[in-house]
Symmetry: C2
DNA sequence: GACTTATATAATTGACGACTTATCTATTCT
DNA sequence: AGAATAGATAAGTCGTCAATTATATAAGTC
């Protein structure tokens, strides 16, 4: 299976995923938006949808003569895992949150 | 500036970043590893390093006649931000943390 | 059953980007 | 200063992949 970033290294596919992030959409609706924004044809979009399906970023199910696409979240975890090792910023933030939580818990315990 | 994923949509660049994640490295050291793993030339690696520099994923400083490369973490935040919207797993966790923080803050205010 | 609508596939073309080799620049060593 | 080393840049080639147009499949409509 090709690496997640190989799939996401395309602006059209990223945009499609953004659309799907708001909820499932029929192929035709996606084509409408993408064709307008990127000035590409229906088959072009359809091919991107195929790539997203094949690579496990999206799923599709038949609904009459339409195909409904939805996000398949699994592969995003993969990206997240890869990116984590480079992020120093969230670490302290997370620490801060964890600290807050700990203090909050304590505070509430005192209150009760 | 080109999108983060356009830069990471290349296995060689991803590997270089992985190397840098373990700490700064001279160009030559990177070439040694990458040339072995991917069977490409020194200029090829150098060009990838340039892309990483220009795109803000890495920084370089001169050290004698060597160039020391290091990770520049900023752009990884961008990726992380993009990916977050597709991850359902951490969402609840974060919500939980945020809630805790909010409650903790309130609790402490009452205490004071 | 013919027609239209929704979407996918096939075949082909073209652009872009990742290589190559050759060369340039800068630094260290003798 | 000249040679050697480290690395970057230049110019050109080539493969890949994202488009295109044309066509196929499948589901609803008349």
């Amino acid at each position: 299976m090709s690496h997640a970033f190989d799939i996401l290294g395309d602006p059209v596919r990223r945009r499609i995923l953004e659309l799907l992030a708001d909820g499932q959409r029929a192929s035709g609706e996606i084509v409408e938006v993408i064709a307008a924004e990127f000035a590409i044809s229906q088959p072009a979009v359809s091919q991107h949808l195929r790539v997203l399906r094949d690579s496990g970023f999206a799923t599709s199910r038949a609904d009459g003569r339409r195909r409904l696409y939805a996000i398949a979240p699994e592969r995003f975890d993969e990206i997240d895992a890869w990116v984590q090792r480079f992020r120093r910023t969230w670490e302290p933030r997370f620490e801060a949150l964890a600290t807050e939580v700990a203090r909050g818990k304590k505070a509430r315990r005192v209150e009760e």
